[in-house]
Amino acid sequence: MVITVLFLPLLGAIIAGFFHPIFGEKMVKFFASSCVFVGAILSWTIFLVTDFSTVEKIHLFNWISSGHLNVAWAIRLDALTSIMLVVVCSVSFLVHLYSFGYMKADHNWKQSEKYEARFFSYLSFFTFAMLALITSDNFLQMFFGWEGVGVASYLLIGFYYKKPSANAAAIKAFVVNRIGDFGFILGIFCVFISTGSLYFDDLFVQAESLADETIQFVGFKLNTIELIAVLLFIGAMGKSAQLFLHTWLPDAMEGPTPVSALIHAATMVTAGVFLVCRMSPVMEFAPSASAAVTVIGASTALFAASVGLVQNDIKRIIAYSTCSQLGYMFAAAGVGFYQAAMFHLFTHAFFKALLFLGAGSVIHGMHHEQDIRAFGGLRKKLPVTFVLMLVGTLAITGVGIPLSYDLFHYSIGFSGFLSKDAIIEGAYAANSSSGLFAFWALIIAALFTSFYSWRLIFLTFYGEFRGKNDDFLNAHEPETTMLLPLLILAIGSIFSGMIFYNSFVGSEANDFFHDAIFNHQNNYILKDFHYVPAWVKILPFFAMLLGFFLAFNFYVMNTKAASKLAAQHFGLYQFLYNKWFFDELFQLLIVKPVLKIADIFWRWGDERFIDGFINRLSLVVIPKLTSFYARLQSGFLFHYAFGMIIGTTLIITWFSFP
């Protein structure tokens, strides 16, 4: 069954990519989407029916067999894989469905140009690569999927390849990801050196003993397991846009909105979180690396949320929000609460895809205007979208009944409320300095999250319309194929938390995850987080409320106050608005020096030295030799005979000197 899930999207991608001239665009779009639909149905079946008491491994074929390096293409089916299968296939299907409407008559293309089949092919290919990543049984196959999603992401960010900004964003995403991938591949090398195998199982079995070993790395003697964990985490940072490697994610919004929802919100960017959770047996023995994960995650959550406060592009706000939510997940994984990380990954997929697709509906309805300053009062024009986005916002800001678990022994609230609070409580329960840092950072981030989410809602749907009047009059609800995915995601955003709370982090968690997630015997976080003080449990709720009221005050009640505040704290505003100047800093510290060095290599190394040498050899030396030889080949018999005699003489002379 899982094999079908894995390869159907590939089939869809091939058919859509190569055979659309034969079958027609409509047909291949439909085919690719139904492939993913079948995949989604099957993966829900796997998720709900299978109990994952044993890890199921399906050997497909041998891939590489060279010396000690033996890698097969195999599927590893456990709870983690199954969660990801559900997330990837469902969101992918909904996005496929949504794209039917969204990509129709795209203003970036001329009437005669065909682009839809290409788009669907990329989407399906992405789905395949992502599935290959999550089902892998070894590092190499995972790396294949890892790079595959990278390529798909590159292609889709640069989908509007006529726009220079889209191309630049695509290249930026690829290059920044390369840095992470470099760490990842170094990590894979380390694994191979220290265990002699690329299979997860071999590493997991040896993890405990590796914790006592050291390895030589760029001149330093380092703890093996810590090094592996850190290097793999660097890979995860790149893919999941964590602090320092986050700069590509906001720019990736150049891609079509369905892409942002699928790749840059729900699935690909969570691959890093998945990797860290998959590596739980490694992380558990690498306390320093775990602390680093926590700190980086929490800092990202805080940083991205703070930048999100002042952005004006509707997609960028949601992009920073994604970045921030990913930070939550890492923080959870870092404190050893992998279950909560996966839970948040799961719920986040629903509400973030919902928000993105909702934003897509707004953009679609507003003729590709993305600046929220040009919106306003749209709830009258787009009532359905408004309600659905409201659901998404309630979910992400974390609306629910605090302490409900203690009171009724049943958690009640929107999905984001349950998963996010679990993380925050877990950070507190970890009872470590990094955990405590994460706790406070995440509380503040929750405040910011609430503020920017409501700000988005208020500026878009409330108040007076601030854009061009024509736009407002022409604004319209999208068609049903676009609203249906939103509706499904909204249902997921409301209920997924409550339904699966017990399975992921509640009483049934151990039976649900089994061996997929490993908790060290001293790691009691799964129980402890229920018993944190009541103020810890209520605090995020109040942070949310505070954010809501601030936003309400600034953007509904007292609309002038916001710009006044910004003017008062001009420096701070610019700092946030320019994303803490990360791009400028990188430009100055890394991009420019690298370009200089590259320029030197290009002009001197390549043009002068390599090209110069080859060109001179092939354009000067060889023709000279040829014409010299032509003179030898004179046509005179005695020259030829002379040549033979000389040849013989030469050989005899050679042997005459022993």
């Binding site: 030799l625 040829t626 030889y629 018999l637 030829y640 005979a641 030469l650 050989i651 005899i652």
Partner: protein, 479 residues
């Protein structure tokens, strides 16, 4: 005893008698149609004899007191030689009749030279070698000058004859030195003497001269200078024959000479072969760049290919030997394709051999152009065509025996050589607009061209299935 020897050599004897019959019938009939029938009959004869050889169980038999050795190795080469000669006869019919060259002498001379080559392949005694060598050469001298009204053809024949005589002289001198210092001309006996007494300077010099004579036959540098002139001057069917069949016989004979009588002097002849192969590869590639005549170009191409084959011999292992056999086999297949095309290069009934006349051939006949391009690319050694794998096997054998520098030179020269091969393909598809070649082509040449193209493409899947067979031959050959 005598009967056994006669039976063992019956194919050669039959072919000799047949060629005399051809002469007699030809002399007395004097009709053109008889000449044509004799040509087809000779084709049939070649096929028939190769069938006989193929049906004989391979076993190590000595004939005429050890003058000939009949083993799987000689069997394989004889079959390839016979079939190639038959095919070349069939392919050349159209060209010969166009230039009014289709005489019975042509068939008779080809038959005689084939007899000579069959003797060369199985000779196990220096005298037998010389017998075969001369029988082959004398026939070839004549057919090189076969187009008597052409100055170039006559010149080619004369040059070939004079230089061939010189090379025979070298060979004979070497053979007499070897005989003088070992007291025998039998291969096994020479080998025994060298094993017992070591390699004396006299024998070493004899070896050098013998190799000089043989290098002339395979046209290895610096004994190659006749090749371009003879290839260019001879009528194209004769060039085709030169490019394919004597090369096979000479390589086979060279292999036997090196491995059997001088098998105990490997380190000495390896030095000579390294020199020959490096200079052949480099000069073959470099000189070919300057050519404008496709026949001269093919001459240099063959020189460079022989250089590669010599690497395989230099290695001195059974792996190297089987690599050589495979390489020559691939070489033959590709050359058939190219010459099937060259035989038919004509504009308004006049043969042309400029490379530039290939210009835009793809617009004349796209299928043939594609086939030819594939074959040329295979000659250049481009993967995934079979020519690439031929080189790979040679290089692999060389690396396994530690001849890395040889492989580096080989790689370099195939890069240089790729230039002129690619230029041909370039011309076929993107050349300048000029007078194009005529479009007609005899059926048999079309078949050969297409088959060759298919073979160089599909051959890389399993190398025509000969790999296992060849390695068996070469291991038994080396004992």
């Amino acid at each position: 005893m005598l009967i056994d020897s006669l039976v063992a050599l019956s194919p050669e004897i039959m072919l000799s008698i047949y060629s005399m019959v051809v002469v007699m019938v030809g002399v007395f009939s004097k009709t053109k149609s008889m000449d044509v029938s004799l040509l087809w009959l000779s084709c049939l004869m070649f096929c028939f004899i190769s069938l006989i050889i193929a049906l004989t169980e391979p076993s190590d038999i000595y004939a005429f007191n050890g003058a000939f050795k009949l083993d799987g190795f000689s069997q394989f080469f004889k079959i390839v030689i016979l079939l190639s000669s038959g095919l070349i006869l069939a392919m050349s019919k159209d060209y010969l009749s166009r230039y009014n060259l289709l005489n019975f002498e042509y068939s008779a001379l080809i038959c005689l030279s084939v007899v000579g080559m069959m003797i060369m392949v199985s000779a196990s005694n220096l005298m037998a070698v010389y017998l075969g060598l001369e029988l082959q050469s004398l026939s070839l001298y004549v057919i090189a000058a076969f187009r008597r009204d052409s100055l170039k053809s006559t010149e080619a024949g004369l040059k070939y004859f004079v230089l061939g005589a010189l090379s025979s002289g070298l060979f004979l001198y070497g053979a007499s030195l070897v005989y003088g210092f070992t007291g025998t001309t039998g291969f096994e006996e020479i080998s025994g003497v060298i094993l017992d007494e070591g390699l004396s300077t006299g024998v070493l010099f004899g070896l050098i001269f013998i190799l000089g004579g043989m290098a002339f036959k395979v046209s290895a540098v610096p004994f190659h200078m006749w090749t371009p002139d003879v290839y260019e001057g001879s009528p194209t069917p004769v060039t085709t024959f030169f490019a394919i069949v004597p090369k096979l016989a000479a390589i086979a004979m060279l292999a036997r000479l090196l491995f059997v009588p001088f098998g105990n002097a490997i380190s000495e002849w390896q030095q000579i072969l390294v020199f020959l192969s490096i200079s052949s590869m480099l000069i073959g590639s470099i000189a070919a760049i300057g050519q404008s005549n496709i026949k001269r170009l093919m001459a240099y191409s063959s020189i460079s290919h022989i250089g590669f084959a010599l690497i395989g011999l230099t290695v001195g292992s059974s792996e190297g030997l089987s690599a050589v056999i495979i390489y020559m086999f691939i070489y033959v297949i590709a050359n058939f394709g190219v010459f099937a095309f060259i035989l038919n290069m004509q504009r308004d009934g006049v043969s042309v051999t400029d490379i530039s006349s290939l210009s835009l051939y793809s617009r004349v006949n796209s299928i043939r152009a594609f086939c030819l391009s594939l074959i040329i690319l295979s000659l250049a050694g481009l993967p995934p065509l079979v020519g690439f794998f031929g080189k790979v096997f040679i290089f692999k054998a060389a690396i396994n025996s530690g001849f890395v520098p040889l492989v580096i030179v080989g790689g370099l020269s195939s890069v240089i050589g790729a230039f002129y091969y690619l230029r041909m393909v370039y011309l076929i598809y993107f050349g300048e607009v000029s007078d194009r070649l005529g479009g007609s082509m005899p059926f048999i040449n079309q078949v050969v061209l297409t088959t060759s193209a298919i073979a160089v493409t599909l051959g890389s899947i399993n190398l025509f299935g000969i790999q296992g067979f060849v390695s068996v031959i070469s291991t038994t050959f080396l004992g």
